[in-house]
Symmetry: C2
Subunit: 370 residues, 2 copies
């Protein structure tokens, strides 16, 4: 397989304020030692990929001609991302494909011809040359599409439950809960008997989660949302929330409702209750500022949550247990659903870009590079 | 001393939305067993007292006639404080005075005639009947005024340094740093060799801290504040901040500057640096919302910080070590300064209320009830 050539997507922020996303051709040498060459067959476009692919670019006013996107960036965004100026960045955290060539080492040879999943970065490409250790062989009855999203969402959803247990909470609140990740979390919590308060933004999303059998699904667009939220927190004892949205007042509303539930039968204190109230922001669906009213005393914490630091802090045994659980249930608990399958070239078309970059729940795209 | 009678301040929020702060007379029985009767000689008005005394009341439009304040409250504030409606609340966390009567128990008898400091609540009063264990005997050369603020500010400032060490940070950022508390923190950090970045809001406050020998004092009203802050963080390695203000964008600015310092020589990551960034909000000088731009990656935490939960989590040995350090240096490291000394009755006058409730740095009041 020496001389394999393939296309990949590159995103480059130029010092003049233009973001250029384009196809580039790459030539691969024959794999050596522990290396394997993977033909990528499916790679999901996750929100975490979009932050690298089209960070804060003005995509409405971009130029989409000629198999590349040239998008203007604001001065503020350019300054905020000075660290990546001039670097042609490969994109795509995870995906799945087939090992079509392997180095001499036994670990590499053992994967030859196998369908594998990998979280190696640069997966929006036709081929990837990686170390054998980066690959997980998929079960025979799992397709590349089914295995393409075996890492980010499944491990994140499992990570929420691990974090809840580790920090001594007993129920979870989740926002943007109708997402692929949210649906996985519903199934995990059902399997594990963890009470889960799902917050979504419209009736259609309520229906998605009701169909999965979710017990508590709250629609934040409803007038009685605050009362419903307080009731759900009182019923479940949820004192930890995971928020995919980031901007706006929802995190503050959740902490406020937790405080009302905690203070209900406690004596008045000007400092608020001493019940812990934790919110983790793990996404940026809304990039506007997080507004905290602090109407919830002083016993609260808001912080960022990321998968890789979590896995590191959780330790190798926990991470391995989580990975095995995903592999065992890839087509059930951890199944993903896609709005459309597109080629690398399709991924540069105006309509596709504007759709998948909107990060709308239920509108996830899968790149099929070959 | 049976039959002692004295005045105390009471703050009552009524269901009709009026906050009434008034004097009430209290009669004290002779102390029994472990009880002691303390004649209160000095009690500071701390920001934490104001949250109970005049919570969000409209003091500009209050009625100050007749030794009481009647202030209107907004519906929102009334709802937020529903838990205290109808309760006549005693005010004043801490103070100092003389034990003028004691119960039979040896611990109580040992304090008779002694000058003591106590953090017992209800200290805006002429007398307090408390358990002997709530009192700390002051050294002979320490006056009641010098001992009146031996708890809240000193233990909070020491608590910041303990928290820094416990969480693995090596330098501190402090806002509203020219306060009595801030001045103590400057002296503690000098004694302990802890780098401290002081943030104040005007030139006069810069001068106060420079006079104390503070190394790094930044004026947030200056145009180059952002650059100065980033430089100070780079120079000290500060990754933890304690903020007395709460509202607005300062916490966000600090986290942003920490992130710029951390990312300076690191490879670009769309998730931001993996350097921990911690901010604790321990005050409410600005009650408006905290605005977090989240322009600092995902490795960050913002939370409330309160003295009593901290002392509980720190354990008895640490708390005792901290208290002893305060007693040993009450007139030096932990000295407080007051703008004015007022009686209980003075504390209900319009000019005094509007001045001390403004919580301006350097304008702390001391109540001298007898």
């Amino acid at each position: 397989m020496s001389g394999t050539r393939g296309l990949k997507l590159l995103s480059t922020l130029h010092a003049d304020g233009r973001l250029i996303v384009e196809l580039a051709e790459e030539a691969f040498p024959a794999p050596k030692g522990n290396e394997v060459l993977v033909r990528v067959e499916a790679a999901p476009i996750n929100p975490s990929d979009l932050g690298l692919l089209f960070p804060a670019a003005d995509l409405e006013n971009a130029d989409y001609s000629g198999d590349r996107v040239i998008a203007p960036m604001s001065d503020a965004a350019l300054r905020a991302m000075a660290g990546r100026v001039g670097q042609a960045m490969e994109v795509g955290n995870e995906g799945a494909g087939t090992v079509i060539a392997a180095g001499d080492a036994p670990d590499a040879q053992a994967l030859l011809g196998k369908r594998v999943a990998l979280i190696a970065g640069g997966m929006f490409a036709q081929y990837r040359l990686v170390q054998a250790g980066a690959c997980i062989a998929l079960p025979d009855d799992v397709t590349a599409e089914q295995g393409a999203a075996a890492f980010v969402n499944p491990l994140t959803a499992l990570g929420f439950v691990e974090t809840m247990r580790r920090e001594g909470h007993r129920a979870i609140i989740h926002t943007a809960a109708a997402s692929n990740l949210g649906q996985m979390l519903v199934r995990i919590c059902q399997e594990d008997g963890v009470p889960l308060v799902n917050i979504v933004r419209n009736e259609a999303q309520v229906a998605i989660l009701r169909d999965l059998g979710a017990d508590i699904v709250l629609d934040s667009s409803k007038d009685d949302f605050a009362a419903q939220l307080q009731g759900a927190i009182a019923a479940t004892g949820a004192t930890i929330a995971f928020d995919a949205i980031g901007g706006g007042t929802l995190v503050s509303q959740i902490l406020h409702a937790m405080e009302l539930a905690a203070a209900k039968d406690a004596p008045y204190s000007r400092y608020g209750s001493d019940s812990p109230k934790q919110a983790y922001i793990y996404g940026m669906l809304d990039t506007s500022p997080t507004i905290l009213t602090r109407s919830f005393g002083f016993s609260w914490n808001v912080g960022g949550w990321l998968l890789f630091p979590f896995l590191q802090s959780a330790g190798a045994d926990t991470a391995q247990r989580m990975r095995q659980r995903v592999l065992d249930s890839l087509t059930t608990t951890f199944a993903s659903h896609y709005k459309a399958r597109i080629s690398l070239r399709d991924a540069l078309a105006r309509d596709a870009v504007l759709t998948y970059n909107a990060r709308r729940t239920g509108e996830k795209y899968l790149i099929v590079p070959n």
